[in-house]
Amino acid sequence: MKYIKQTLLGRTVLSVAIAIIGMFVMTYANAEEPVSAGSEAETIDVAVDEVKRLTRPDSELEVGVGHVSEDSYKFGNFTGLQESGAYLIGNLQVIKREQGGTHYLEVIGRNLGLDNAQELQIKGGEQGNYGFSFEYDELPRLYSDRYQSPYAGMGSTRLIKPAGWDGTIDTTPSGAIDAPVAATVITTPMMTALAANMKQFNIDTKRQTMGLSVSKQLSEGLEVYTSFKRDEKNGTRLTGAPLQIGGGGSRGTLLVPEPIDYTTDIIDTAVRYTDEKWQAQVGYYASLGLVSCISVSVTIF
């Protein structure tokens, strides 16, 4: 089994980030640079530009490249950086506010380009009137890339034994309850073929969440709000497949990849009233969960 250093210091993640923070500062500076010094009007222009630079929202764009030295599921858990090699990453923050008005738009992107860990938010609306937002998020949950099993069909709801594995099952309920099944049932040829039949399978899940929300001020203090969120979780987790041979016979269990296919929809809507003296809120909240895979069948022998 490959040993992987767990310390972050031991891991050489080299990253070079090219930050273009202040891009717009340069835009302003270049566009409004005075031709000659000493003119009072130009000095005022420079001052006005300086004030604008300091009082108008900035947008940022960040692009970088990085490198991961070795494959590691542990390192990639939640981060999406499980594979060795170079990767490209981008972060984005665009904030626009209407000059002389109240409209706004914000776009925020994080980890763009990273495998299964990207995030995007878009918010907009008119301040004091209405607002909307969209969110998308990915979350990788990596359990193990060292799991092995002789069964075919891993990741599905049906695991099938390798060809030629036709053992006989001793159903005599006379053995000790805790005696391992393998000691009495698995034949020597099957055990010989075990190593040749072992297959590696990654145990992981991925979440994808998408949300939409809208709010509207109906009058001073009165607001309606509604949101919808869908959360999907797909992949596999290790689960025990317990078995027992005959009534009171030998027991055993094997850990198999259980397919995960969850979908959760959340609807949240409310009417709020806020006054100096009192506040009220009436809402409706619904959480609708759907578990698509409810069983795994394993052909043991």
Partner: protein, 329 residues
């Protein structure tokens, strides 16, 4: 891993490139339009701020002009505050009284040296920001501990750390040091990774539930993301339905699956009698020869290998199988 929504990665990159290209163009238009405005207003950002900005600018410890980059700086919004609506009229600060050695501070200040009571500070914010998520602020743990809005929030900046998922935990950890340590343990929610952060579960502005959670109960809060654990189940594992924190600790644990202690001991802390010699697990006599000093066999008790009790009791949160009374299917 299965991807039901197609390869959104490509879409994200496309959007990324488009916006990256479009933003400088948008800014260019804005710069051109604004170039015609050559009149320098006396007020720099907010209405009536000239009396403040004649002295205070962006070189302060708490730069004042950047409030213009925030929603608080949108003049077209009639609700937009002025300097004095938050800081008070501060007459003695503006016009230093004759004979005073030092200029008195403004009526309401929000920095670390401020002597303004938290309730007075907060009133400046609550004048507008009450209701909604802040409905339960009064009487909440943070309010009772005299935490001010500005203890966590920064107003005069475009980037309020606590409202950014990647930086928010650092703000909360300032006080909640135990949670900082827990979040660094082997099994943890992706808090430090900036994916599931404090405010995903907690509402620091007050709650009707425990621990300032968003929902009324711990379980209701957890089911927001872990709905498959909710049931309803034909066979209910009552401690799981009662409170997730009976077995799990939410911020981080040295045990797998955020468990409070290692299985099988966690299980045997309740199951002290009955099958599988749980009394033997508690006493250490039935853990299998491998785990005792005089081990001579190579076979550990099945409750001590793999996922321990969960090797067989896989549906530990509850089961809907007709034969699932013991959560094995």
């Amino acid at each position: 891993m299965k991807n039901n929504w197609g390869d959104l990665r490509k879409i994200a990159w496309l959007l990324f490139i488009l916006v990256a290209g479009a933003v400088p163009a948008m800014e260019g238009v804005a710069a051109t339009a604004e170039a015609d405005d050559s009149t320098m207003a006396k007020d720099m950002v907010l209405r009536g701020d000239a009396k403040c900005t004649r002295c205070h600018d962006e070189s302060e410890e708490y730069p004042v002009l950047s409030i213009g980059k925030t929603k608080h700086g949108v003049l077209a919004d009639s609700r937009t505050p002025t300097c004095t609506s938050c800081h008070g009229n501060s007459e003695t600060h503006i016009n230093k009284p004759a004979g005073a050695k030092e200029r008195p501070r403004p009526d309401r200040t929000f920095d670390k040296k401020s002597l303004t009571p938290a309730a007075v500070k907060n009133q400046a914010c609550l004048t507008c920001h009450q209701g909604g998520a802040r409905m339960n602020w009064v009487g909440s743990q943070h309010a009772n501990e005299e935490v001010a809005c500005t203890t966590c929030h920064q107003v005069h900046t475009q980037h309020d750390k606590v409202r950014n998922k990647t930086t928010q935990p650092e703000v909360c950890y300032t006080c909640h040091k135990e949670q900082r340590a827990q979040a660094s343990r082997a099994s943890h929610h992706p808090i430090n990774e900036g994916k599931v952060v404090c405010s995903n579960c907690h509402n620091p502005h007050g709650s009707i539930g425990p621990k300032l959670l968003h929902k009324a109960t711990v379980n209701e809060n957890c089911y927001t993301c872990h709905a498959e654990k909710r049931g309803p189940f034909l066979w209910e594992h009552s401690p799981a339905s009662d409170n997730c924190t009976n077995c799990h600790t939410p911020h981080g644990s040295s045990n797998a699956s955020l468990l409070k202690s290692r299985t099988p001991f966690l299980c045997s802390s309740c199951h002290i009698a009955g099958g599988h010699s749980t009394t033997g697990i508690r006493s250490g006599n039935d853990l299998g020869p491998l785990v005792t000093p005089e081990a001579t066999s190579t076979t550990a008790a099945s409750q001590m290998v793999g996922k321990d009790c969960l090797n067989c009791h896989t549906k530990i949160h509850g089961s809907n199988h007709p034969s699932g009374a013991r959560f094995v299917r």
